[in-house]
Symmetry: C2
Subunit: 355 residues, 2 copies
């Protein structure tokens, strides 16, 4: 982002989200759960999932009866598992409830596996995994989404971008944070290519005949990770199905092709999600030492020509956070700040202050 990008301190962005959500009658604790998540997304450099999504969450509130007074409930549980009904509240409120429940279970049972239904868009999956690492645990999160993924040999979508997150703690605050869609790429990446007039690589998306597309704009759906069958796209399709099994199938939420379309607000989303915490103390001592050793080995591999380094999952985000720390906050495009100001005015709250 250009150096003239206005900088917003993390605390100010956090407070702005809380101000906006409370203006539409969301309780302070629900507003803070959402703010925690949106700040984490932009701080980590996932700008599509932070301030960029605030209006979507506000629209969600306007069309949802439970968003301002619901609360997630445990439907069924064992010492190590739970089935949760999210009561159609904000996705990050459901997610925080579930990962915290999983962490509590993992403290005594070694693992906590929680599957939720009746949830909503939960933001970056990484946030829930990271929350577990802050208590010295491994954390996983999965969600189903609106159908975008076109199965191998099909002409139309049947599954979502169904992300997988695993976060694992290493030494001295370091961590491994995998947070990936099971499609090759997110929709946003194709939109960006279209805006720029760029072609897209074979393996990102398919056209109405199910054929690989290189011209963005005509996609009917996304290819699974791996792309075409000859490069093992059926594996990405299988992984997306795995996520759906943990989410919609296990919890009794909407699943696969029956999840409502993106931006359709005519019915409750009823998304399925899954949250797991694993306590490394239930396994061999020295987990974080071995994590750091393996990550260090990978980071020190000789890079191919033209690349400066080999990274591990979470490193690009770590670089972005260091940059934010140096600048005193998150750098936003001026258009995003302008949009936030319009939103502030419409809600009658104080606009977001920049440095």
């Amino acid at each position: 982002m250009a150096s003239e990008s206005p900088i917003v301190p993390l605390a100010e962005f956090h407070d702005f989200v809380v101000r906006c959500m409370m203006a539409v009658e969301v309780s302070r604790d629900h507003a803070e759960a959402l703010a925690d998540l949106l700040v984490a997304a932009d701080y980590r450099g996932h700008f599509s999932h932070g301030l960029n999504r605030l209006e979507m969450y506000i629209d969600d509130i306007k069309t949802k009866t439970n968003a301002t007074h619901g609360t997630p409930k445990i439907v069924k549980e064992t010492v190590a598992t739970a089935l949760v009904d999210g009561d159609n509240v904000l996705g990050p409120v459901v997610g925080k409830f579930c990962i915290d429940l999983a962490i509590e279970k993992a403290k005594t049972a070694g693992i906590g596996w929680v599957s939720a239904r009746n949830s909503n868009h939960f933001g970056i999956a990484g946030w829930y995994g990271i929350r577990a690492t802050q208590q010295g645990m491994l954390g996983m999160a999965f969600t189903n989404t609106s159908p975008f993924l076109v199965p191998t040999n099909s002409k139309k979508p049947a599954l979502g971008t169904n992300p997988i997150c695993l976060a694992a703690p290493a030494k001295d605050g370091d961590s491994f944070v995998l947070d990936m869609a099971t499609t090759s790429v997110a929709v946003g990446k194709i939109e960006l290519a279209e805006t720029r007039g760029d072609k897209i690589p074979v393996g990102w998306a398919v056209d109405k005949d199910g054929a690989p597309l290189t011209e963005p704009g005509k996609q009917v759906g996304l290819s699974p990770l791996g792309g075409e069958a000859k490069t093992s796209g059926y594996k990405g399709y299988g992984l997306a199905m795995m996520v759906e099994i943990f989410c919609g199938i296990m919890s009794g939420a909407h699943y696969g092709p029956f999840v409502r379309n993106w931006k359709d607000k005519s019915s409750a989303a009823d998304l399925g999600q899954c949250f797991v915490a694993i306590n490394p103390e239930a396994f061999e001592d020295g987990f974080t030492d071995r994590m750091s050793d393996l990550m260090s080995y990978c980071r020190n591999l000789e890079p191919v020509e033209g690349e400066s380094e080999v990274m591990v999952a979470g490193d690009p985000e770590r670089k972005h956070m260091a940059k934010c720390d140096k600048q005193g906050g998150i750098p936003y495009h001026p258009n995003q700040i302008a949009g936030a100001n319009v939103l502030a005015k419409s809600l009658g709250v104080q606009p977001m202050k920049t440095l």
Copy 2:
């Protein structure tokens, strides 16, 4: 396979494996565990992992002190987790012990998560998942392997082909069985292309400079699922690392670049593995109904031109099993039967009878 392929009934192949293993002083129950797995591999059409590997297991026995009299032991456990020391016995013996332990735990705790060290090559990961489905549960299995996967931007391997398996039960004996390496393809697929004089697609393997390779034979390692960085190969690299975390890092086994090379028998393999069983009864009722509904939806999608159908994970294997059932057994290439006869003679056991 050609129609003149000799057919071996499943029971006869099973008995042949037991005969061979008992001839090298393996106990009957260990020999049967291996036989169960090898039969399942060939019956499912994964010929690289069945009869084809029998000699490798026999070589393993000859170089391992514990293979004939060891037994896996629980090092540490909770109601839902266990850390197991495989005692360096045959991989399928360790695996069967662990998945059965996970299933027992899942009966009461809803989930069983077992991580094992000091194990050996465990064959097809799918077998352990399927074993859980036979008791109405979801089953997962993971193993680390010798280093083959070249991380994104690296010039040399650092992780194994690290497979992921999830099997989930559907109605009327149907099931979803995902069993996939986190590399684009297995080494065998590249060897086959070389034998045939075919080129290989970009995204399968890299050369000594870490550049994509299309000429088989010069690979220094395999590309992660997703291939190059522009088609999100870093996701496959991240998934391989996830598997390594569940296996070597969690259990204290060898991990990543420190796993011995393939076919090196100078030291114990000390592989790390992970086995999970999840009881759908701990979650929303009707799991198998929803599984069947989603699988049926996918199977009934209109296929792209030139393809006869859309499948779900496990369908190609299901077709192969049906073919075997019709023929009365597994069809082998005559060279494989010849090899098995040589092996039988060297061990002084009855050769394998064909139909």
